[in-house]
């Protein structure tokens, strides 16, 4: 699974790091980016799927199935 956080959509809610702490990184201002160039390891998949579904800004997307 590979994901991307769209910088223009992210509103720094930070829910993603609560659901999948290893798969996202926040900057000094709270905006998220996908860790490891967006590559999600198997144990993180459920949390990332929850983050995708619950991100208030809908800023996370899968890019392996586009």
């Amino acid at each position: 699974m590979r994901i991307q956080v769209e910088g223009a959509r992210c509103q720094a809610y930070g829910l993603c790091v609560e659901h999948a702490p290893a798969a996202f990184q926040l900057d000094d201002w709270g905006y998220a980016t996908a860790a490891d160039d967006g590559l999600v390891t198997a144990p993180d998949v459920p949390g990332v799927e929850k983050a995708i579904a619950e991100c208030p800004a809908q800023a996370i997307r899968r890019i392996d199935s586009d």
């Binding site: 991307q4 769209e6 910088g7 223009a8 992210c10 509103q11 720094a12 900057d27 000094d28 201002w29 709270g30 905006y31 980016t33 890019i63 586009d66």
Partner: protein, 439 residues
């Protein structure tokens, strides 16, 4: 050669040509007519098919001149493949937005070699079987001049789309979005324009100078191109060399000429020796003094951890590298697309920290913050603007002989002196209104 007068807020670019080995020149004293342009062609050359055209691009090593230096052949093949797979006609775009303040080559070519650029666009349209062509630019007078040159084209007549003259509007996804939706701001990648471009169609977005070189390769033949430059990078390129004070030049130079030789030739390389040099305009960062003799070219400069980019070279002769970095970061903080929170905040934070360093009012944490931001923020925005901002900062640390540290130790007289930023940066150059005879 003559000086093209600048608009009031920008400086003149003077036309110069490297004295030897340029072969057929891109430069003209007056705007070229269609008849004059056609008179230079090889006879009986029509429009090459896609694979033939891509092979020609490979043979002459044609790379994009908008900034990324991506091989045009690869782009052509990718657009063709996507369009065939989707069963739709692709779109071709000549990108003449030239948002880089310290570059004037694209506007020069559209003004003085319009038929060369339009022929390049038409050649690409034929090879890709495109039914729509667009010329994308940011200057209303130039748009009117180009509209007056659309007659006699043997292909889809391009429509001219005017961008609002913002820095980010020339980024390829911003061009696509402006043409499709009227919004001149970048989008997240993927998809790239060859996948989903104008109106959802696979789209070739090619810089104006790239298309000019494409037309030269087809109309003059690869041997004429290869008569200049190096084996690895044949041909010539246009550079805009902008010192912080004095004369800015638009210069045609064969690939392989050493940057230091070029700066000497233009009279900006010595007395005083530059305090710093940046290549790739606002995008390439500071070039360390030990590499100022790098041969000009995409691959040669990449090997030296530098970038040719859009061919814009900034030469700091009077100012201070820290003050210049502050100015460029401030420019990025004002000119970013205001889309990505990390970019809006990151460019402003770096600009403010550099402002404090320049004023000898740095907070204790500022050097570490600047270093950390420059290392961790690249790749986080939807476009490459934040990456460029970070490169200015990281190369200020690495490549300016300790300039930043000196500002922490003691006040800098040059920074304290200040300077006039016209209008937002001292490096803006442009073309003037043409004289009556040139219209």
């Amino acid at each position: 050669m003559k000086t093209i007068e600048a608009r009031p807020t920008t400086r003149a670019v003077r036309l110069r040509r490297w004295p030897a080995g340029t072969g057929d020149s891109l430069l003209r004293e007056r705007p070229e007519s269609l008849a004059d342009y056609r008179a230079s062609w090889r006879p009986d050359i029509g429009f090459p098919a896609l694979e033939q055209l891509a092979d020609l691009c490979d043979r002459v090593g044609l790379r994009g001149r908008g900034g990324a230096g991506f091989p045009l052949a690869t782009k052509l093949r990718a657009v063709g493949m996507r369009a065939r797979a989707a069963g739709v006609a692709p779109v071709v775009v000549a990108n003449g937005d030239e948002g880089e303040p310290a570059s004037a080559k694209d506007r020069y070519l559209l003004r003085y070699r319009p038929h060369l650029v339009l022929d390049g666009l038409t050649i690409a349209a034929h090879a890709l079987e495109a039914q729509r062509a667009v010329v994308y630019l940011a200057d209303d007078e130039l748009a009117a001049a180009v509209r007056g040159r659309l007659g006699g084209l043997d292909g889809p007549v391009p429509n001219v789309v005017l961008a609002p003259g913002r820095y980010v509007a020339g980024e390829e996804t911003a061009a696509v979005r402006m043409i499709s939706e009227g919004v001149p701001k970048p989008t997240a990648k993927p998809p790239r324009p060859h996948e989903r471009g104008v109106d959802g169609r696979p789209t070739l977005v090619a810089n104006v100078e790239t298309l000019a070189h494409l037309a030269r390769a087809v109309r003059l033949g690869p041997d004429v191109i290869a008569a200049a430059g190096t084996t690895d990078e044949p041909g010539v390129t246009l550079l805009t060399v902008v010192p912080d004070v004095g004369e800015a030049c638009l210069v045609e130079v064969p690939f392989g000429v050493r940057l230091s030789e070029l700066l000497r030739f233009l009279g900006v390389g010595t007395e005083p020796a530059p305090a710093a040099v940046l290549t790739g305009g606002f995008f390439g960062g500071f070039l360390p003094r030990s590499r100022w003799d790098v041969p000009i070219g995409h691959t040669s400069m990449r090997a030296a951890d530098a970038a040719l980019g859009c061919g814009s070279i900034l030469v700091i002769r009077d100012g201070c590298p820290v003050d210049v970095a502050h100015e460029l970061l401030d420019y990025f903080a004002e000119e970013n697309a205001r889309q990505c929170g990390v970019c809006i905040n990151g460019t402003r934070a770096m600009a403010d920290a550099l402002g404090r360093v320049a004023a000898h009012q740095a907070e204790v944490e500022d050097p570490d913050r600047l270093r950390r931001w420059s290392e961790t923020l690249p790749g986080r925005g939807d476009c490459a603007l934040l990456d460029a901002a970070c490169r200015i900062v990281s190369t200020l640390f690495a490549h300016t002989d300790g300039a930043l540290q000196r500002h922490l130790d003691q006040p800098c007289a040059t920074c304290a002196r200040g300077h006039e930023r016209r209008p937002r940066t001292r490096f803006a150059v442009g073309l003037a209104r043409p004289s009556e005879g040139e219209r």
